[in-house]
């Protein structure tokens, strides 16, 4: 446990020094407040700058709070996720390539500690950034658009968090198993994209897929009650996170840390 804390503190310190703990939350908060603001001023913006004929009446029904928040989740799922995956694609792979990993593993370091310390740190940063951004979005939405029930907001956030954890776990695992940061990022984003596409075009076939969690979290905002398949998705995703992490630790341990230098 002592060793785990040392490794975790190293991750934390590193991300503080290279400003990850500043800029990633800021990006999420910016994304979070942009969506309600543009929704609110949408009609004005069209009126001022849109090429509408003189005298045309702009009659766009104001969006509901649920729609605005669902739109925010969509933003997080694109730019937010991209930023997170790219920021952490090298968490292990880069240490492998720059030679710092063998310095660490030459000490009596458990592979489990090394990998889970990184994993927990990545999840904490990702989830904190998301929650901050989402809180900002909720605040602006309530202020500008209208109120929404507390439980709807919290549960949709939790479900979305699980999806975020799933993607970031995949990113950490692939970073540990592959030698290239870029490949790890690409494989993670491709997987996330495929899962999302499947959940849009064949939702009935992939009820338990992690990709459905984004759908479930948005639907919860609208309906306020769990969709059919909601719990299945939650359980399957939590299970997959556990399995991916266990497999990655096992495979990482059996990997050769040192490369053949000749």
């Amino acid at each position: 446990m002592q060793q785990w804390k040392v490794l975790f503190r190293k991750e934390l310190k590193e991300s503080l020094r290279n400003y990850k703990w500043l800029w990633i939350p800021v990006v999420f908060v910016l994304l979070g407040i942009t969506q309600p603001l543009t929704s609110y001023y949408f009609a004005d913006i069209i009126e001022q700058f849109g090429a509408l004929p003189e005298g045309a009446i702009v009659d766009i029904p104001p969006p509901t709070s649920a729609e605005v928040l669902a739109g925010t989740l969509g933003q997080f799922n694109q730019i937010g996720l991209l930023v997170l995956v790219l920021a952490f694609m090298g968490t292990v792979a880069a240490e492998k390539n720059d030679g710092t990993l063998i310095m660490v593993l030459a000490k009596p370091v458990a592979h489990f500690n090394y990998l889970t310390a990184k994993w927990v740190h990545v999840l904490v940063l990702a989830v904190s950034s998301f929650l901050l951004g989402y809180a900002a979005a909720v605040y602006y939405t309530i202020l500008l658009i209208g109120s929404i029930s507390f439980s709807q907001v919290v549960i949709s956030a939790l479900v979305y968090c699980l999806w975020l954890c799933f993607v970031m776990t995949l990113a950490v695992c692939l970073s540990a198993l592959l030698n290239s940061s870029g490949l790890a990022a690409f494989a993670t984003l491709a997987t996330a994209l495929i899962l999302s596409i499947a959940s849009i075009y064949a939702p009935d076939l992939v009820k338990g897929s992690p990709g459905m969690l984004t759908v479930y979290s948005e639907q919860y905002l609208y309906a306020g009650e769990p969709e059919d398949g909601f719990w299945l998705g939650v359980i399957v995703t939590a299970g997959l996170i556990f399995i991916m992490m266990s497999a990655a630790i096992y495979l990482f341990k059996n990997q050769e840390a040192a490369k053949n230098a000749g």
């Binding site: 400003y19 800029w23 800021v26 990006v27 908060v29 603001l37 790219l86 880069a94 720059d98």
Partner: protein
């Protein structure tokens, strides 16, 4: 023109201010990091231009790709 000024006055500035403030924080952090760093991936001056002139995405791209990993 008057209409535009009038509508700008209608804008709720306390609501918009955080947007500018956070963008500014993002930009300044990236700029400070870039200037303090010994070497960047690619010419430093180019990164400074990217950070300053491309709102929001400029600093992000710098943070993601402008820095060497182990520094």
């Amino acid at each position: 023109m008057n209409e535009l000024i009038a509508s700008l006055q209608e804008v709720n500035w306390p609501l918009i201010a955080p947007l500018f403030l956070l963008s500014l924080i993002l930009m300044i952090t990236a700029l400070v990091d870039c200037l303090k760093r010994g070497q960047t991936n690619g010419p430093k001056i180019l990164w400074i231009l990217v950070i300053v002139f491309i709102n929001f995405f400029g600093p992000i791209v710098y943070f993601l790709f402008g820095r060497r990993n182990n520094e």
